[in-house]
Symmetry: C2
Subunit: 346 residues, 2 copies
């Protein structure tokens, strides 16, 4: 499979049409930072985004509508290729920026579903997804809280049942999350032996994709000081430590549970401070995301592990407050595209 | 009160005798980074620490036993003054480094109690506490999970009932915690309207001490994305947002609740990235400590807010794994001493 995937382009999904997704996509192409990629989206929405960027002083690229991914080969460089999936709602080019709109939620979902179809048909090699807005998504009747859950369901529908985990990564830290969009109370309930072990296994398997067949995996505790021997909670003793032992019995180089407040610092890998671990398994959303985002969200890339394909996304949201101004930066999307190429090529 | 406090020395408590506390204290004096301070501790323990440091190539200072804080004035510079509190267990100088020992827990508690006495008698101006080991503390029969709770109880015993909060601070970020050493489940239960409002009030009042009478306070949410409008938990809507409104009604410049995964990044204050807020109120221990510690624990200082005196401590633990080797760095203790001087002088 590796060689053909290598030549396949990356599909970029438009995200919520009222958010900054269309603008950062156009900006990434304008900066020539989206090589061998095409957009799944709405022509009118992307044209409007290009106009906003021009008004903000950015020299936008010309747009070209394509009928299939293979048409990419016929386009001159510097053009932004757009493939419109079937079933996009009408009037998307007129939605108000920064406003929750069910049509935008429906369009975002249609683009993601089309991307899965294309990849599983062998027409694209990976996907990078621009941000959707969860309330618009819910307003469109989507039962999924976000991309990750939709992608898992779509994979299953195509005969690839997938247990997925979210990884957030930047140059110096990779964290893989046991759960994502749950209230914190329910996230604690979700810390089970099976969930922790499975997260470690998914992370271990995925790391081969970026060239680390035997990654050093740190597992964070749940409670302050990882429970300090049971004084502040017993999930470490009852659940997490046994899961680490089970992972090691499978030949995985897992360690922990470690005190959450220092494990990310210990894994941080920068010149002069080599990380003690290659990735950290975090017990809940904010435990893992706070350290990756601390130095600036633009550096972070969201990677979905466990899918039958590579999917990355920027780690910011729709930024409704600046949508339509042409001011949004494309750095995190560019990093997501770079990561997608890296992982799909491996 | 300000002028006399200014001239009073800082009391440094020894911490757990089997941990790195005695070594980092001696090292701070060896580096001449502990001006106008004395140690509450055991002579034999500190002599042993000085020997370990000499064996590690550090030119240790001479020790001088003093009978009261006022004796400090008679000592030549470069000497490490030690005041032995009454009731220290015998044989402390022979305890094994890196081992939980009830005698070490008892000694650590005795030093802290003596420091409170000295400050409230007007003989010391502030305290910096070296780390204790919570299991040794418990083994000694202490009912408190850590320093903070002991200090609040001691203040109350002296007629100063204090509601305290822990702040962790480094050069670029200050976070104040609603709760500290609770299992995460119980920490969620502790997020009440009163607890959040009181934390904001304590933080606001304390900030005057470091010269910010009207600090910009960010309040973090509890759930991913601060609940995203109720989709992932309702504590933000039910509890935290009303507490922020109540704080604002009191004239406090409080904002939020904000998404936990980005609020610390937003408050981070470095050249080229001015923080949007002066401090962040965090809903639980690891939410607030992960970002402060991420760039390296040595930079972090723990400050107890709400006490009738200034108390700081390094933000690392007893480091039993390297105790007795003379290798522990004193940077965080030195930062704690600097912060204590800064706050007590204000």
């Amino acid at each position: 499979m590796d060689a053909p995937l290598r030549a396949l382009p990356c599909a970029i999904t438009m995200g919520d049409a009222a958010g900054i997704g269309p603008e950062i996509i156009v900006r990434a192409f304008a900066q020539r930072q989206a090589p061998h990629a095409f957009v799944l989206g709405d022509m009118a929405v992307l044209r409007r985004a290009a106009r906003w960027l021009r008004e903000a002083g950015v020299d936008s690229p010309p747009l070209a509508q394509i009928g299939q991914a293979a048409d990419l080969a016929d386009l001159p460089p510097g053009v932004l290729p757009v493939l419109e999936p079937a079933g996009l709602p009408a009037g998307l080019g007129q939605v108000e920026p920064g406003r929750i709109d069910a049509r935008c939620g429906a369009a975002a979902a249609a683009c993601v579903r089309a991307a899965v179809d294309l990849i599983l048909r062998g027409e694209a090699g990976a996907m990078a997804t621009a941000p959707l807005h969860k309330e618009a998504f819910a307003a469109a009747g989507e039962p999924y809280p976000g991309h990750t859950e939709l992608l898992a369901a779509e994979s299953a529908r195509h005969g690839h049942p997938a247990e997925v985990r979210m990884m957030l990564a930047n140059e110096e830290l990779k964290t893989v999350l046991v759960s994502v969009h749950l209230p914190l109370r329910r996230a604690i309930d979700a810390v089970s032996f099976d969930a922790v072990l499975q997260t470690v296994r998914i992370a271990h398997a995925a790391a081969a994709g970026w060239g680390q067949p035997q990654p050093r995996i740190a597992v964070a505790g749940l409670n302050p000081h990882a429970g300090e021997g049971g004084l502040f909670g017993d999930e470490e003793l009852r659940i997490i430590a046994p899961a680490v032992v089970a992972a090691r019995a499978l030949g995985i180089d897992a360690h922990g549970p470690f005190a959450p407040d220092t494990v990310f610092m210990r894994a941080r890998n920068v010149p002069g401070h080599p990380g003690e671990f290659d990735l950290v398994v975090a017990m809940y959303h904010d435990q893992g995301l706070i350290p990756v985002k601390y130095l600036g969200v633009e550096q972070g890339v969201n990677v979905t592990l466990g899918l039958p394909f590579v999917r990355t996304s920027p780690d910011h949201g729709t930024a409704f407050d600046i949508a339509g101004t042409g001011r949004a930066h494309a750095a995190s999307l560019v990093a997501a595209l770079r990561m997608a190429r890296l992982l799909a090529r491996a």
